[in-house]
């Protein structure tokens, strides 16, 4: 698993409305409307740049990015895939 602190900071400062508390590991982000689908795209762009991975949106459902834990799992999965591939 990866350290999710940079992802949490990005979500809090760039995607959530000002004054929102930092999201917990399992707090829903997309399904409860805290971030919208374009926010998910911004998050994906951040992850690709931060972790040097490529995320294929055809392979992942938007709900794969619904919580910090799920996002960290996608990153770990893609890094693993990148190392193997």
């Amino acid at each position: 698993m990866i350290d999710s602190t940079p992802i949490r900071d990005f979500i809090r400062t760039r995607l959530l409305r000002p004054g929102s508390p930092a999201p917990g590991e399992d707090d829903p982000l997309f399904s409860n409307g805290r971030i919208d689908s374009f926010g998910v795209l911004e998050l994906i762009a951040f992850l690709e740049e931060q972790y040097g991975i490529v995320i294929d949106t055809a392979k992942h459902h938007i709900m794969d990015f619904d919580t910090l834990r799920k996002v960290a799992h996608v990153v770990a999965q893609e890094r693993e895939g990148g190392r193997r591939g």
Binding site: P18, F38, L41, I44, A45, D56, T57, A58
Partner: protein
């Protein structure tokens, strides 16, 4: 006129007989047919048979266009599915998607059919000389199927489940638009039908009928269609606004009523079709609205248009600066396609662009308002006046767009002038 009640009764009576007959057939097959594949063929076959037999659907469209198209889509998807040691040829998925899109374009849009006729040297030639209903939905479902099978998100599809997914008759004409992976779970293991489930499904059907036949019908006489274009030019601003509100509620009751009917009916077959509406007119911004109106279409647009377009544009942009231009371009392109998908006419394109611009403005406002103090956000998000204000603005933005949806551009222009009391 004298025979009208009898005709209505016999028409609805035959629908009811077909519907109840299908439920009985599926229940009997579940109980007595032990072979799973045979049971599934009965299910799929019953849906196709009903569509071929239903009185107001032209069977030629299904027989000569829809079924061959579905066979081709299925074969292409099987070919595109990931296989060990096989590399998909570049552009193969795009080529496969092009087939259903081309069929839809030439059949649905008069101008495209005319161009094709001219290219073939036969002016006045029509690609499909019969009515093909439900094609727009079929094509979007086919694209989803091709993308998900080729990406490996859906594995080893079977033709019988694909056929039933595409042709489940309660959802065939106007959705809700299910996803194959979800549908297949219910198709292969239909949900049990307890007394409570049956009561719930019947309640949804009754609610749908009430919305369509009573509530939508009550709004209809005040909506746009009751005015000729000449009358529209002379109506008062009050009457024009009444038409705007009446159409907004007529459309909602009619469409959400249809969805209730489809959800309740499919549930009696053991299929839990996804919800399509969640109080859309109570949403506080246009982005929220599109998570609550025609949900199965908006999630399709999100997954198969908005996300790939946004991702591609984001990749090109790279580097600092605002993401707003990317967001705006993604919203506008996605909703322009959504508009054109709804119908043949410039007004549908204008309606789509209206929503694309609205979503872009909403995103820009969200970015801009980040600079405002926390108290402003608390007021807008947590207090009744703030929430009510946001809901009223969003509601009017949406209902004014229906003017473009329901009228061609000249009529819409007259109506907008009347709404402002000018012209």
């Amino acid at each position: 006129m004298k025979n009208l009640p009898r005709r209505i009764f016999s028409l609805h009576g035959s629908y009811l007989a077909v519907f109840l007959g299908t439920i009985a057939l599926l229940a009997a097959s579940r109980r007595f047919v032990k072979n799973a594949a045979a049971r599934e063929w009965i299910f799929a076959g019953s849906q196709v048979a009903v569509l071929l037999l239903i009185v107001d659907i032209d069977f030629r469209g299904i027989l000569f266009l829809v079924l061959p198209l579905l066979c081709l889509v299925f074969l292409m998807a099987r070919w595109l599915a990931p296989k060990p040691g096989w590399v998909r040829p570049r552009g193969a998925l795009a080529g496969a998607i092009l087939l259903p899109v081309a069929v839809l374009t030439f059949v649905k849009y008069a101008f495209a059919g005319a161009i094709l006729g001219r290219l073939l040297g036969a002016a006045g030639w029509r690609p499909a000389p019969f009515a093909v209903v439900g094609l727009s939905y079929l094509v979007f479902k086919a694209i989803h199927f091709l993308v998900d099978v080729s990406s490996g998100r859906v594995s080893a599809p079977t033709f019988r489940s694909f056929l039933c997914f595409m042709m489940l008759y309660p959802t065939y004409l106007s959705g809700p638009m299910d996803r194959y992976g979800r549908f297949r779970r219910d198709f292969e293991n239909p949900l049990p039908l307890t007394r409570d489930d049956t009561a719930e499904a019947c309640w949804r059907i009754a609610l749908g009928l009430f919305k369509k036949t009573v509530l939508a019908a009550l709004c209809a006489p005040f909506a746009y269609a009751s005015f000729t274009t000449a009358e529209l030019g002379a109506i008062s601003a009050g009457k024009a606004w009444t038409a705007v509100y009446a159409y907004a509620f007529m459309l909602y009751f009619d469409f959400s009523g249809y969805s209730d009917l489809a959800i309740g009916s499919a549930r009696l077959f053991g299929i839990a079709v996804p919800e399509n509406f969640r109080n859309p007119y109570l949403k506080r911004n246009i982005i929220e609205f599109w998570t609550a109106w025609h949900i199965t279409l908006s999630t399709w647009l999100r997954d198969y248009l908005f996300m790939p377009i946004g991702k591609a544009l984001m990749k090109r942009k790279r580097g600092g600066g605002s993401n707003l231009p990317v967001a705006a371009a993604s919203y506008i392109i996605t909703f322009a396609v959504a508009g054109v998908w709804h119908g043949d006419g410039w007004n549908f394109l204008a309606w789509g662009i209206w929503h694309g611009l609205g979503l872009s403005a909403c995103k820009a406002y969200g970015e801009w308002s980040r600079r405002l103090p926390a108290g402003y956000h608390r007021f807008m998000m947590e207090t009744f006046p703030g929430k009510a204000l946001a809901t009223i603005v969003t509601f009017h933005f949406v209902i004014l767009s229906w003017t473009l949806f329901a009228n061609d551009l000249p009529r819409a222009a007259i109506l907008y002038r009347r709404l402002l009391g000018i012209g």
